[in-house]
C-alpha cells in the first residue's frame, strides 16, 4: 500500500462494500480489489475485517450470496446486491454527501464570516 493511503473512517466500510458490490456480483477478494480500484488505492482496509462486514450486510438482508467459480477456477462465495441493499446504498450515499458538505463548510469557515 502506498504511503498516502488513509485509515478508514469508522462506519464507512459497509458503505464502500455496498458501493463495490452495486457494480456487479463479487467474491470477497474482488470486493477488496474493487474498493482499492474505485478509491484510487487511497483507502486502507484490513483484509480480514472485510468478512465480518460482509456477514453483517448479509444478515441485514442488504446482500445475498451464491457460490460460484473464481477467475482461478476455485469455488468462491459471490456477494450480490439486493433491492434493499440498493435502497440503503442510496440513503447512505445521500447522508454521506450531506455530512461531508456540512463538515466541509464548517471547516471552511473564516473568522470574518461568523
Amino acid at each position: 500500500m502506498s504511503d498516502e493511503s488513509a485509515e478508514l473512517l469508522p462506519g464507512t466500510l459497509d458503505l464502500l462494500i455496498l458501493k463495490a458490490v452495486s457494480l456487479g456480483p463479487l467474491h470477497g477478494y474482488a470486493v477488496l480489489r474493487r474498493i482499492e480500484q474505485i478509491s484510487g488505492g487511497k483507502l486502507l482496509i484490513e483484509q480480514g475485517a472485510l468478512y465480518p462486514a460482509l456477514f453483517r450486510l448479509v444478515r441485514q438482508g442488504l446482500l445475498k450470496t451464491e457460490w460460484g467459480t473464481s477467475e482461478n477456477n476455485r469455488r468462491a462465495k459471490f456477494y450480490e446486491m439486493t433491492a434493499r441493499g440498493r435502497k440503503r446504498l442510496r440513503e447512505e450515499t445521500n447522508w454521506w454527501n450531506q455530512s461531508v458538505a456540512a463538515v466541509t463548510s464548517a471547516l471552511r469557515a473564516r473568522p470574518q464570516e461568523i
Binding site: Y29, L32, Q47, G48, A49, Y51, R74, K77
Partner: protein
C-alpha cells in the same frame, strides 16, 4: 427480519456447514491474494507469508463473522445453563428439595386442573351451548320437578321461542346380550333432542325424528363408558342388537365421552316415541319428564321464560286440577346445570392446590435468597472480573429456570400418578369423569405454572442483587452488608405470607372436617350395620303386572330368608340414600282439603314388603307393620313416617285415618294409615327427613308396575361377621329367574359411605393440601430463623460473652418467630374470613365463620411453628462464644 431469522436458523442447524464454508471462503481469499503477489514478483513462500500478514488473524475474523450471524444470546444461554447445572450439581440437597417441592406442587395443581378441565372446561360436544336451556317444572317445595307427557307436548307445540323442545326421562333397564345381564342407567329421549343439542355421535348416528314414529325399528345409542366397559370399544357393535328389559333393539350409535345431561346417567339412550305413548293424552298422568330447548336467534332466556310461563298459565286455567302445585318453570343454562353440584368443590380444590404451589414457590424463593446471600462473595468476584449486573441476574434466573423445568417435568409425572389416586377418590357422581385425557390446556397450564415457579424463585434473588452493592460484599466477606438486611426483611415477609396461606388452607380444611363430622354423625333413621342390599330390575316382557312381581317375590323371599346368617329380608322400591332416585306423590286429608290446589302436600313414596322395616331397622312408633295378608283382596293400607304424622296430623293420631294418594294415572285413591315408623333420610344425610309414605307390595297400583320393574332393592339383615353372601344371593335370584339383572350387592354401610363420598373427597384433598402447606410453612419458618441465627452467630457470641443468659437469647429468637407468626396468622385469618363465603355451600351444621375451627387451626399452626422455631434455635444455644468470636 426474515433475513435475520434465516441466518439465525442456519447458524443453529447448519453449524458445521457454516464453519466449513467460512474456512473455505477465507482460504479462497488468501489463495487469490497469494497468486496476485506471486504475479507481482514474489516467490511462492514469500507470497504466502505476505498474504497471511495482510489478512490478519483468520481465527479472530472467523469468530467475528460467526458473531455477525446473530444468535449469540443462544450461546450465552447455553453457557449459563451449563454453568448453572454445574453450580446446582455442587449443592444437590438444595436442588433435590427445590425440584421435589415444585414437582409435588405442580403435580398437585395439575391433577386438580385436569379434573377441572375434564368436568368443567372441556367442550360438551353441543353446538352453541350458550343457547341451550334445561327446563324443570317448579313447585312450591322444589324448583326442579318433572313435567307430564301431555304437558311437554303442549309446550313443544305452542311455544315460539325455541327452535325445538326435547323431553328426557330416566330409564334404567337391564341389559342382556351375550354377556351377563346388567342394570344400566340411561334415558328415554324424544328423538328430536339430538338435533336440538347439535351433538355429533362418536360413531354411527344419533337418534333422528324418524325413530320416534309409531312402528319405527327399535333402536338405541350407548355411552362411551358402556361401550368401553361392556364391548371393549368394538366398533362392530353398531348395527348389532342389544336386549334392553327383554326388548331387542339395534345399536345405531356411540355417544361421545364428553356428553352428559344434568343429574341423569346416559349409558343407554332410546327414543321416547311420545305420540304412541298411552300417556299422550292422559292429562293426569305421571310427571316424569325434563325438557331441553334451544333458543331461537335473538330470543333471550327471559323472553322464553315469560312465554312458556304464559303457556303454563293457560294450561292451568284449562285443567285446574291437573296443574296442582306447579307454580312455574325453572330454566337454567344446560352446561351450567350439568356441573352445578360440583363446580364449587372442584374450584376450591384447584385453588387449594394453587395455594400449596404458591407456598412451595415462596419457600424456594426464600431458599434461593439465602443462597444468593451466601454467594454474594462469589458474585462480587464475578463483578470484579467484569460481569455486569444483568449477566449475574440472568445467571440466577437461568438457575431457577433449570429447577423449574426439571420440577415441572417431574410434576407432569406426579400428575399422572396423582390423577390415578384422584380418580380412585373421586365420587362417582362427577359428570364426564370417566373419559379423562390430558389435552393442550393441561399442558399450557403446566407450562404457565412452571414459568411462574421459575420467576418466583429467581426474581427475588435477582431483584436483591440489583439492590446490593456487591463491592461492599466483597470487602466485608459477605456478611452484614446492606443487602443482608434487605434480604432478611424480604425473607421474613415471604415466610409471613406462607404462614397466612397455610392458615387459609387449614381453616378451610378445619371447616370441612367439622362439617364432615356433623354430617356423618347424622342419624339416617335406619340401622346400617349388618345390612346387605341388592339392586335388580325385572325384564319387561315377563313382568307385566303386579301379580307377576308378587309371584317373583313369593318365590325368592323364602329362599333368601333361609340362607344361613340372614335374620330378615325385605323388598323396597327405592333404597334410602340411593343416588339419583326420587319418587314422590301428592296426597290429601279428606277432612282437610288444601285451600289452594298448589298447597297439596307431597311425600316420598315407597313400595315395600312387610319385612322391609325389620330388615332396615326402621322402628315402629305406633300401629302395626304390614303383613302378608295386606293384599289386593283387603282394603288398601299405608304406613307413614313420624315426620308425615307430625306435619299433617298435628291434631290427632294418623292411625286409622284415611288419606287420598295420587299414585296412579287416573283418580286419587284412598288408603288407610295403619302404622307410624321412624323418619328416614331418603335422599341425603344433609337435608332433614321429609315425609315418607309406604305401601305394601301386594297392594301396589298397576300404574306403579313399570316403576317397580325398573327399580327394586332387596334389603337383608345378617348376623354380624358372616362371610360374604354375594355368590349365594346371586345364585338364589338366578335360580328363581335367570333373566333378572342383578346389580351391585352392597352393604348398607357402603351406601352411606357413598352418600358422603363427595364430602370425603374434598375433605381428603383439601386436608392433605393443608397438611402439606403446614409442613412447608413450618419449614420456611425454620429456615428463616436458623439462617438468621447463622448470620448472627457473632452477635450471639458477643452477647453470651457479655453475660446474656441462654434463656435471653432464646427469648430474642422466639420473639422474632412470634412476630412473624402473629403477622402471618392475622393476615391468614383476614383472608380466610374474606373467602369464607366461597365455601359456605359446602358447610353443614357449622357456620363458615365458625370461630372454633378458626381458633383450633390457628392454635395448630402456632404450635407447629413454635416447634420449628425451637428446633432452629437449638443451634443458637450451642454457640460457643469463644469459637463465635474467633471465627472471623
Amino acid at each position: 427480519m426474515s433475513a435475520y431469522l434465516r441466518s439465525l436458523g442456519r447458524r443453529f442447524f447448519q453449524r458445521a456447514k457454516i464453519d466449513n464454508e467460512l474456512a473455505e471462503e477465507l482460504r479462497a481469499h488468501l489463495e487469490l491474494r497469494r497468486a496476485a503477489l506471486e504475479r507481482s514478483g514474489l516467490n511462492a513462500a514469500e507470497a504466502e507469508r505476505q498474504a497471511r500478514i495482510e489478512f490478519g488473524s483468520t481465527e479472530r475474523f472467523k469468530a467475528e463473522c460467526r458473531e455477525e450471524l446473530g444468535g449469540n444470546w443462544i450461546d450465552n444461554v447455553i453457557q449459563d445453563v451449563r454453568f448453572s447445572a454445574r453450580t446446582l450439581r455442587k449443592s444437590p440437597a438444595f436442588f433435590a428439595v427445590a425440584v421435589l417441592t415444585l414437582a409435588l406442587g405442580i403435580g398437585a395443581t395439575l391433577s386438580a386442573f385436569s379434573v377441572v378441565n375434564a368436568v368443567l372446561l372441556r367442550p360438551f360436544g353441543f353446538s352453541n351451548p350458550q343457547t341451550l336451556l334445561w327446563i324443570y317444572s317448579q313447585r312450591i317445595d322444589n324448583p326442579r320437578t318433572n313435567f307430564s307427557l301431555p304437558e311437554y307436548c303442549d309446550y313443544r307445540d305452542q311455544n315460539i321461542s325455541f327452535e325445538g323442545l326435547g323431553a328426557i326421562a330416566s330409564y334404567n333397564p337391564s341389559i342382556s346380550d351375550s354377556g351377563e345381564p346388567e342394570r344400566v342407567q340411561g334415558v328415554r329421549i324424544t328423538a328430536n333432542t339430538f338435533a336440538i343439542l347439535g351433538l355429533r355421535p362418536l360413531l354411527g348416528r344419533t337418534l333422528i325424528p324418524a325413530d320416534d314414529k309409531n312402528g319405527a325399528e327399535p333402536v338405541a345409542m350407548i355411552s362411551y363408558g358402556l361401550w368401553s366397559r361392556r364391548y371393549a370399544k368394538n366398533p362392530d357393535v353398531i348395527g348389532g342388537s342389544v336386549n334392553l328389559n327383554g326388548e331387542s333393539r339395534q345399536i345405531v350409535g356411540i355417544l361421545p365421552g364428553s356428553f352428559a345431561l344434568p343429574n341423569l346417567d346416559t349409558d343407554v339412550v332410546i327414543p321416547m316415541q311420545p305420540e304412541s305413548d298411552p300417556r299422550r293424552n292422559s292429562r293426569n298422568s305421571v310427571n316424569f319428564l325434563r325438557m331441553v330447548g334451544r333458543l331461537k336467534p335473538h330470543v333471550t332466556a327471559l323472553q322464553a321464560h315469560a312465554e312458556l310461563d304464559s303457556i303454563r298459565q293457560n294450561l292451568h286455567r284449562q285443567y285446574p286440577d291437573v296443574y296442582t302445585g306447579k307454580i312455574g318453570l325453572t330454566m337454567l343454562p344446560l352446561t351450567e346445570e350439568i356441573v352445578d353440584n360440583v363446580r364449587a368443590v372442584l374450584l376450591s380444590i384447584l385453588c387449594a392446590a394453587g395455594a400449596l404451589l404458591l407456598i412451595g414457590c415462596t419457600n424456594l424463593a426464600g431458599i434461593s435468597l439465602s443462597r444468593a446471600g451466601a454467594r454474594q462473595r462469589e458474585l462480587a468476584v464475578r463483578t470484579a472480573l467484569g460481569a455486569t449486573r444483568r449477566q449475574l441476574a440472568r445467571l440466577l434466573l437461568v438457575e431457577s429456570a433449570i429447577i423449574a423445568v426439571v420440577g415441572g417435568s417431574l410434576g407432569v409425572f406426579v400428575e399422572i400418578f396423582g390423577r390415578r389416586a384422584l380418580l380412585r377418590l373421586v365420587p362417582t357422581d362427577l359428570p364426564r369423569i370417566q373419559t379423562f385425557a390430558i389435552d393442550w390446556k393441561v399442558f399450557a397450564f403446566a407450562s404457565v405454572m412452571t414459568l411462574i415457579a421459575a420467576l418466583a424463585c429467581g426474581l427475588a434473588p435477582a431483584w436483591l442483587l440489583s439492590r446490593t452493592d456487591l463491592r461492599d460484599a466483597h470487602v466485608s466477606g459477605g456478611r452484614g452488608s446492606a443487602g443482608g438486611g434487605m434480604q432478611s426483611r424480604l425473607r421474613t415477609w415471604l415466610v409471613a405470607g406462607q404462614i397466612a396461606l397455610a392458615l387459609v388452607l387449614l381453616a378451610n380444611a378445619g371447616l370441612l372436617f367439622r362439617s364432615f363430622v356433623r354430617v356423618s354423625s347424622e342419624q339416617p333413621g335406619f340401622d346400617s350395620a349388618n345390612v346387605l342390599t341388592i339392586r335388580f330390575s325385572l325384564p319387561q316382557v315377563t313382568y307385566t303386572d303386579r301379580a307377576s312381581i308378587v309371584q317373583f317375590y313369593e318365590k325368592l323371599q323364602p329362599r333368601l330368608a333361609a340362607l344361613p346368617g340372614i335374620q330378615s329380608a325385605g323388598l323396597v322400591s327405592i333404597l334410602p340414600l340411593a343416588p339419583k332416585s326420587i319418587s314422590f306423590i301428592h296426597f290429601t286429608r279428606p277432612d282437610r282439603p288444601p285451600s289452594k290446589p298448589e298447597d297439596t302436600p307431597s311425600t316420598n313414596y315407597r313400595i315395600v314388603s312387610p319385612d322391609y322395616f325389620r330388615a332396615m331397622g326402621i322402628p315402629l312408633l305406633g300401629g302395626r307393620y304390614f303383613s302378608e295378608e295386606d293384599d289386593g283382596d283387603r282394603p288398601p293400607v299405608a304406613i307413614v313416617s313420624s315426620v308425615l304424622a307430625k306435619n299433617h296430623f298435628p291434631d290427632r293420631s294418623p292411625i286409622g285415618q284415611r288419606v287420598m294418594i295420587d299414585d296412579n294415572d287416573a283418580e286419587p285413591r284412598a288408603v288407610e294409615i295403619v302404622g307410624i315408623v321412624g323418619a328416614v333420610k331418603q335422599t341425603n344425610l344433609e337435608t332433614p327427613a321429609r315425609p315418607d309414605l309406604y305401601l305394601p307390595l301386594r297392594q301396589a297400583h298397576k300404574d306403579g308396575v313399570p316403576f317397580l320393574r325398573n327399580s327394586t332393592y332387596w334389603v337383608l339383615r345378617t348376623s354380624p361377621n358372616i362371610p360374604t353372601l354375594e355368590p349365594q344371593l346371586r345364585g338364589e335370584i338366578h335360580h328363581v329367574d335367570p333373566g333378572v339383572a342383578v346389580g351391585d350387592v352392597r352393604p348398607m354401610a357402603d351406601v352411606m359411605k357413598a352418600a358422603l363420598a363427595s364430602r370425603r373427597f374434598s375433605l381428603l384433598l383439601i386436608g392433605s393440601f393443608a397438611a402439606a402447606a403446614l409442613f412447608l410453612a413450618a419449614a420456611g419458618l425454620y429456615a428463616v430463623i436458623s439462617y438468621g441465627i447463622q448470620q448472627r452467630t457473632r452477635e450471639i457470641g458477643v452477647r453470651l460473652a457479655l453475660g446474656a443468659t441462654r434463656g435471653r437469647i432464646l427469648g430474642m429468637i422466639f420473639k422474632e418467630g412470634a412476630v412473624l407468626l402473629t403477622a402471618g396468622v392475622a393476615a391468614g385469618l383476614a383472608i380466610a374470613l374474606m373467602l369464607a363465603k366461597l365455601v359456605a355451600n359446602q358447610m353443614y351444621g357449622v357456620s363458615e365463620h365458625d370461630p372454633f375451627s378458626f381458633a383450633i387451626v390457628s392454635l395448630i399452626l402456632g404450635i407447629v411453628s413454635l416447634v420449628a422455631c425451637w428446633i432452629a434455635s437449638r443451634r443458637a444455644l450451642n454457640v460457643d462464644p469463644v469459637t463465635a468470636l474467633r471465627c472471623e
